[in-house]
Symmetry: C2
Subunit: 201 residues, 2 copies
């Protein structure tokens, strides 16, 4: 398959690329400029340009999407919009714009995370984005055309970054990022749709 | 208690007002101009002005929030942002701005709906907004100050509007809007927080 991997340079994206590259033609994209294509998922024109460059693909996999981590007292109204425009609407736009480029029976795989269901201080915007993406995936799965499928991957904290996040994830058992990458293969090569694949929780 | 009810003129809002009015001081707000206060939840300045007018309240209850109903092929990028700015970020902003006005132990009650979990054609933006609000509620509950609580109410289709929505909700058992209103009382007068109260499903 030809797989478009957005967010290929992050901790998760690199693991997904490592898993998929021996099995598929992986076209990488990120903000970094160190990938095959450049994309800023907060910019719909950038997403459109990426799809025009890559052409038809069998799968779109996203491991990109940031949100502000602040308490409700510190969040500004602009932070709310920034959270929505990035991990939430950025990924929704990847799907909306991508429908016309994905082959019959092809798939979308988006990224969410454990904070859709577990509360940590400063986590409310992550919760909002993750929950919005999970439900969007369930909602849109029933109307994607030509047998296209969509799932989200929702990992807990990664072993590789557990030390950095230890203070806000106390006692959360971490999962290896390579295990989270498996869920992308499951989504891309499997047959399920409208699912939220939890990894490590 | 003094309860600020946003979206008081809708089918659900009117039922919530009817239930709460004999028990509490209910201050109503809506876009319609037929309520005590006027508010447009897509406009943060309007939300701020509403709180300045109402002052301290024991509970904020929201029954307002729209989203575009279109298939993924018909949705525009502006539709995505419109969905996010209204039912999702509009309600999040009610909380963010409201924290300073709600009394110790007071509560927020937001509205979501069954489409966070059930797919219908044209429902993906409703799914996104509902899922985002439900997860925001879970996420922010752990960090609200001074014992403040927050829950969401998630009804299925209402008996009162089932005929109008029959085509897109075939075979969904409806629930009386008065039953959904009970969940607001449960949230406002109860002790739970971070919960999503499903009504009729």
């Amino acid at each position: 398959m030809k797989v478009l991997l957005v967010g290929a340079t992050g901790t998760l994206g690199a693991a997904v690329q490592a898993l998929l590259a021996p099995r598929h033609e992986v076209v990488t994209a990120s903000r970094s400029g160190k990938t095959d294509l450049a994309v800023d998922i907060t910019d719909p024109a950038s997403i459109a340009a990426m799809y025009e460059q890559v052409g038809r693909v069998d799968a779109v996999a996203c491991a990109a999407g940031g949100v502000p981590f602040k308490t409700i007292g510190d969040l500004t109204y602009d932070d709310l919009h920034a959270a929505a425009a990035n991990k939430l609407l950025g990924q929704v736009e990847l799907v909306r714009r991508g429908v016309g480029f994905v082959t019959d029976g092809g798939s979308f795989t988006l990224i969410t995370g454990i904070l859709s269901h577990e509360g940590i201080p400063t986590g409310s915007m992550s919760a909002m984005a993750n929950g919005g993406v999970n439900s969007f995936v369930r909602g849109v799965a029933v109307e994607l055309p030509r047998g296209q499928r969509i799932n989200s991957v929702s990992p807990t904290v990664f072993t590789e970054s557990a030390a950095a996040y230890d203070a806000i994830f106390p006692g959360f058992a971490p999962v290896d990022v390579a295990t989270a990458a498996l869920a992308y293969r499951r989504s891309i090569e499997g047959v399920q749709t409208g699912q939220n694949f939890r990894v490590g929780w």
